[in-house]
């Protein structure tokens, strides 16, 4: 019994210490971002490995999610004779919710885990120490560009996801099930509000991008410098990102759309 209580105390202290390290790490990283202005090449290279390589999975998933929305939406709407509104249903679902959330979950799995593993491995093989001994700050040189790239890539990928999803809904609804194409687009244009829907969705994806960038780079940087430590960091990145994204999504949704 005392052992369990003792363990609880140790765990609490450990997680508090982690929290402190996390905050300190974020401050260091953010202050390192300024120096990237003079070296945009570093960020561009990371945008490629973080963003471009996530593009395939985002496009494919977006297409399928959009197609499923098209099917499900049609089946529900057709009972009310409202299948003309399919475009609105698909677009709102994607732009408000599924675009940012699903893209974030995929992004955490594809790019976040890769970031954590890469940084953790650089730590385990003394590359970060080696850099520091060459008087190159690894937070500025390695972490900051990756953080910034992930932060920038996430909203763009969420936008791609939503756009492809809308096309997927179009394929299923209009091409296969015979909904009027003109109605699909015009209802969507009429009912989807730029501020209320699109901007709020973009804000969500920006927040998620920040959270994933922070979690992934921190887990890699804070990993135990061993094979096991890197594996743990990778897993933790994906699990924590998923939980944080879903939790943040609820909070943001409540703030944005709650009072209606």
């Amino acid at each position: 019994m005392t052992g369990a209580i003792q363990q609880l105390g140790i765990d609490t202290l450990n997680s508090l210490a982690r929290l402190g390290r996390r905050a300190q790490f974020l401050l260091q990283t953010l202050s390192g971002i300024g120096s990237l202005l003079w070296r945009p090449g570093l960020v561009v290279a990371q945008l490629e490995s973080v963003g471009v390589r996530s593009l395939v999975i985002i496009v494919v998933s977006g297409l399928f999610v959009g197609m499923v929305l098209g099917l499900q939406g049609y089946n529900t709407l057709v009972d009310f004779g409202a299948e003309e509104s399919l475009g609105v249903v698909v677009a709102l679902s994607l732009v408000r919710e599924l675009g940012p959330v699903v893209a974030a979950l995929l992004f955490a799995g594809r790019a976040g885990s890769a970031l954590a593993a890469e940084i953790g491995l650089m730590k385990a093989t003394e590359q970060l120490d080696g850099m520091a001994m060459m008087a190159v700050d690894p937070v500025k040189r390695v972490i900051a560009p990756r953080f910034l790239a992930a932060f920038i890539a996430m909203p763009l990928l969420a936008a791609v996801f939503s756009a492809v999803g809308v096309l997927g809904g179009y394929v299923v609804g209009v091409e296969w099930l015979g909904v009027d194409g003109g109605a699909y687009w015009s209802q969507m244009q009429g009912k989807v509000d730029l501020y209320e829907d699109v901007y709020n969705g973009v804000i969500k994806s920006i927040v998620f991008g920040f959270a994933i960038a922070w979690l992934a780079t921190f887990e890699g940087y804070d990993a135990q410098p061993t094979a096991e430590g890197v594996a743990k960091a990778t897993t933790r990145t994906v699990v924590q990102s998923a939980l944080v994204v879903l939790m943040l999504d609820f909070i943001l949704t409540a703030l944005m759309f709650g009072e209606i």
Binding site: M122, A132, A135
Partner: protein
């Protein structure tokens, strides 16, 4: 070896522990300017740890570490980085950047710290690679190098910025007799021609005694013996004999600290 000015590094009363395990228990050590100093000791005594302490990567529990008159433990980040620019370090594992090829690895410190144009960088990189015999390997990635080659690339990188001091962690490990001979000569020549100060960590008694001006032997958290290499080489010191003869019994313990062998075997 007494006046501060003659010593690039002065370590006094250094204490350091990893949790309960005491690594250094009050070490005094001086590294004279312009000389090659070898630090020797059995595996796990803390030789790598000592280099990390000198480079300011970890902080001691007590004691003073002065490099070129600067107290490493008291330096802020900026001061530490300024000092490190003048120090080259060869890591035991090489610590090459895995996403850059050999050429870019050696060019890395030049690109980070100088505004030299590409043709100058190229010339410098090729000179350094030529001196470690790996100019032909410039396009290989670190994953395509053997351990010994990686260490030589790391050496080329360590001297890229012409530092005032180079710390070599096991430069000879994994080298065949030919590259070993070349490396010994190279380290000596670099030291004398460029007026560097060199610290070499090694297990290799014969090589270390051949190349070094001064030798420190560390064991059990203390300096067991230290002095000019030529004196130690023909001293009748017990540890020299133990190391030369590869004996497990002697002043230097072979075993990691443990409790009584018989007691543990007979337990239960």
């Amino acid at each position: 070896m007494t006046s501060t000015d003659d010593n690039l590094i002065e370590i006094r009363e250094l204490r350091f522990a990893h949790g309960p395990r005491v690594i250094f228990d009050g070490i005094d050590l001086s590294v004279p300017r312009g000389k090659v100093t070898a630090i020797m000791g059995p595996s796990g005594t803390g030789k790598t740890t000592l280099l990390r302490l000198i480079g300011g990567q970890i902080a001691p529990d007590a004691g003073a570490i002065k490099v070129d008159g600067l107290d490493v433990t008291g330096l802020d980040n900026k001061g530490l980085y300024a000092l490190r620019r003048r120090i080259g370090m060869l890591f035991q594992g090489g610590a090459l950047l895995t996403d850059l090829n050999v050429y870019e690895n050696v060019a890395f410190p030049l690109r980070e710290h100088t505004d030299l144009n590409e043709s100058l960088i190229r010339a410098l990189v090729l000179i350094k690679l030529q001196s470690v015999g790996l100019r032909g390997a410039q396009m290989l990635m670190p994953s395509e190098l053997s351990g010994g080659m990686a260490r030589r690339v790391a050496l080329a990188r360590a001297i890229a910025l012409d530092p005032m001091m180079v710390m070599y962690d096991e430069p000879f490990a994994g080298q065949d007799p030919i590259s070993m001979g070349v490396l010994v000569k190279l380290i000596r020549e670099l030291n004398d021609a460029l007026g560097l100060t060199s610290i070499i960590v090694s297990h290799d008694v014969a090589e270390a005694l051949a190349i070094a001006d001064y030798v420190y032997m560390i064991s059990n958290g203390r300096v067991v013996q230290g002095g000019p290499a030529n004196e130690l080489a023909d001293s009748s010191s017990e540890w020299v004999r133990q190391f030369m003869g590869g004996l497990s019994d002697g002043p230097v313990p072979f075993h990691y600290p443990a409790r009584d062998y018989a007691e543990e075997l007979l337990e239960r």
